[in-house]
């Protein structure tokens, strides 16, 4: 009886999980389906789900109008570059906070997080002026720097949570065996924290890939990533839903595939320390 109740509960929970999953995924699915419709089909009422004349014309149009590869490469370089630079800064920072905490370490961590609460538009003009003066407008380097700074609090926090779970005694033992600080961080701590670093890396690539405020405001033609590519297909006067959907599908496809293959790492990284 008890087993049957557990089985029924499992079915209900599974059904709810599927329902929630489908509800979350539905807008993406709808975007993908719309990208294969004509503009007239895209606004048809009632809308057709699968029974429409499938066409690739939007993809052809989008590819003829825009340089997808340039935007794609910009997205790859900016998201990877900002994540790697962020890790380079965050690993030593998280190490010191986790293993050599000072009196105000927790305050510093909270302060770092509080920088995420500032609306970005509040600092747009000062950052724009700095970028102008340093010649960083419309450059990949400029965006790598700004996205690193924006995502740094999250990277530090994730790594700090991970490092806190690693027993300090292991590092102490390494030190007693004569390991230098470099050896301790690079050869002892980092290999043990690989799963945590990997999930931090993945999450930050996704965050940097999807970032659409700074990437739109600090770029023009050369360093514009896929967010700018999508923005060029939206219009308040004119129906471009099918083309916009095709551009969106092309923009999210790489990160969707990356997320699909690395979902185990991502879930582990996001839930680490949540359940003990």
């Amino acid at each position: 009886m008890a087993r049957r109740a557990t089985g029924a509960r499992k079915i209900v929970v599974t059904a709810i999980a599927w329902g929630v999953g489908l509800a979350i995924f539905f807008p993406i699915l709808w975007t993908i389906l719309t990208s294969f419709k004509t503009e007239a089909e895209a606004i048809a009422s009632p809308p057709s789900f699968l029974a429409f004349e499938w066409t690739l014309e939007n993809y052809v149009e989008v590819n003829s109008r825009s340089d997808y590869f340039l935007h794609f490469m910009n997205s790859v370089i900016i998201s990877l570059g900002s994540t790697l630079l962020g890790l380079l800064i965050a690993i030593p920072a998280a190490w010191s906070m986790a293993f050599v905490p000072a009196k105000r370490t927790k305050d510093i961590l909270m302060w770092m997080l509080s920088t995420k609460m500032l609306p970005p538009v509040g600092v747009l003009v000062p950052i724009y002026l700095m970028f102008r003066d340093f010649g960083l407008l419309d450059t990949r380097i400029g965006l790598i720097v700004v996205l690193t700074l924006i995502n740094l609090p999250i990277i530090v926090w994730m790594l700090f949570t991970y490092f806190k779970e690693i027993p300090g005694e292991i590092l102490e033992a390494a030190r007693m065996d004569g390991a230098s600080l470099w050896d301790e961080v690079v050869h002892v701590l980092t290999p043990m924290a690989v799963p945590g670093i990997a999930s931090t890396l993945l999450l930050n690539i996704i965050l940097a890939w999807n970032e659409a405020f700074w990437t739109l405001n600090l770029t023009a033609a050369k360093a514009a990533p896929l967010t700018a590519f999508i923005a060029s297909y939206s219009s308040p006067e004119g129906l471009f839903y099918a083309k916009l959907s095709a551009a969106s599908t092309l923009a999210i496809a790489p990160i969707l595939i990356l997320g699909w293959f690395s979902q185990k790492q991502l879930v582990r990284g996001l839930t680490f320390g949540a359940v003990k």
Partner: protein
């Protein structure tokens, strides 16, 4: 290996010696609409005539573009050599000294051919600061078949009373046909574009000559009451979130009897590939209330050069090409007369080929000519602009007031409350900005 490196260096030196001087690259910020996209595809013609100038495009959604170019020009970022700006920005930016005057676009440019209403909105102290690429007004688009079925005939210049009568007669909610579709989405360029123009025809105005907001006037009360009455009784459900695109989709799928919106929509609703009602569409001037002003707006997308640009001469060559009579002929030769960018040149409306290909041409011209940005209202006002007020504060207050009126349409506040809130919000902003004490 050494030989190989020498050969490589030699080849590089030769190629550098024989290569032509580097072309000057112009970065052009533009908006995503059909006419601008078409221009990008036709730039081979410009490249052939100007081999020393290379073009680089940045296409963005209208609101993103506005934010982007405003930041860049205000900070002298220098990211763009040519900017696409609206009739709202042109006079404000020109007065700030942010734009290069375009009074020397070449002897054959024929600046006097530009439509006076459009040119007037882009001129400050007698100098043209932006060249119009495409212009629009607003007008009534209606279903001739439904009008006939209702036993009515749309006059060329209808009144608001007739519009109400026709909306009531055409509405058939059981079959999802709504007598009238109007903008309801909040925003200074969304519902406030329509409502400001409608208010002009009702004798209302944004400010009196002392810059005091006028939402407490009887004329504004009548405007908002009639708008809500029309939309609540004969409009589609959920209209408070409808903008141009939503209404276009409704009209094209046969769900609107009338739609008052941008003249550019005419080419969409009459295109049989996209519109299910293409053969039944008629046009009329925007309605009036018998006070001498019609409820139509005036807008143009224009090309301008930011002050401080290092490539002014090349940028002027490009603007002269893109806004010339020859460009219109180029589009006609490649894509047909119906696809030339409308609303900028008088000669286009004297061209028999165009008039034949675009049945909405005359109504578009009449609508544009009926709008006067220098004198937009029945009573005198201290500002320029038909559906906007050309002051920097307008984007903020226009959207705030738009939110109040959209809320009134959604039924979350009453018309009286919305007007009262609009008055308070606008007064507060104008006082802070120093227009009123």
């Amino acid at each position: 290996m050494t030989t190989f490196i020498r050969a490589l260096l030699g080849a590089t030196a030769i190629s550098l010696a024989v290569s032509p001087a580097l072309a000057e690259k112009l970065t052009i910020a533009t908006v995503n609409n059909g006419d601008m996209i078409r221009m990008q595809k036709l730039t081979d013609d410009f490249a052939a005539k100007n081999p020393d100038i290379e073009l680089e495009w940045v296409t963005l959604e209208e609101n993103v573009l506005r934010q982007r170019v405003t930041t860049d020009i205000a900070t002298k970022g220098g990211q763009y050599d040519v900017m696409t700006i609206g009739t709202y920005e042109a006079p404000i930016w020109a007065k700030q000294g942010w734009l290069v005057a375009l009074d020397d676009l070449g002897a054959d440019y024929d600046v006097d051919d530009l439509l006076p209403a459009i040119r007037g909105g882009l001129t400050v102290d007698g100098k043209l600061y932006a060249a119009p690429f495409y212009g629009e007004s607003s007008m009534v688009m209606y279903r001739k078949d439904l009008m006939e079925k209702a036993g009515l005939t749309m006059p060329d210049a209808p009144t608001w009373d007739f519009i109400k009568e026709a909306a009531a007669a055409m509405t058939d909610k059981g079959n999802e046909v709504y007598g009238i579709c109007l903008r309801g989405k909040a925003g200074w360029g969304e519902n406030m574009a329509f409502l400001s123009a409608m208010a002009n025809s009702y004798g209302a105005r944004w400010f009196d000559m002392d810059w005091k907001p006028q939402f407490d006037s009887e004329a504004w009360k009548a405007t908002l009451t009639d708008y809500l009455d029309l939309m609540n009784n004969y409009g589609p459900p959920g209209a408070s979130s409808n903008g141009f695109n939503e209404n276009l989709a409704l009209f094209q799928t046969g769900k609107c009897g009338m739609w008052i919106d941008a003249t550019v929509a005419a080419s969409f609703v009459t295109n049989p590939n996209d519109s299910q009602v293409a053969e039944h569409v008629g046009f009329a001037l925007a309605p009036d209330k018998g006070l001498g002003k019609r409820g139509n707006w005036l807008w143009a997308w224009n090309l301008a050069i930011p002050a401080g640009s290092q490539k002014t001469e090349a940028a002027k060559k490009f603007i002269a090409w893109a806004t010339s009579k020859e460009y219109l002929e180029l589009v006609a030769s490649k894509e047909g007369w119906a696809n030339v960018p409308p609303g900028t040149r008088t000669s286009l409306y004297e061209n028999a080929n165009y008039l034949e290909a675009a049945p909405f041409a005359k109504m578009t011209l009449d609508s544009i000519n009926a709008a006067d940005p220098q004198k937009p209202t029945v009573d005198e006002v201290p500002y320029v602009g038909v559906q906007f007020v050309a002051i920097p504060e307008f984007q903020g207050i226009g959207t705030a007031v738009g939110q109040q009126f959209s809320a009134a349409l959604a039924g979350t506040v009453s018309a009286e409350q919305a007007l009262q809130n609009a008055q308070q919000t606008t007064e507060r902003t104008m006082r802070r900005a120093g227009y009123i004490k």
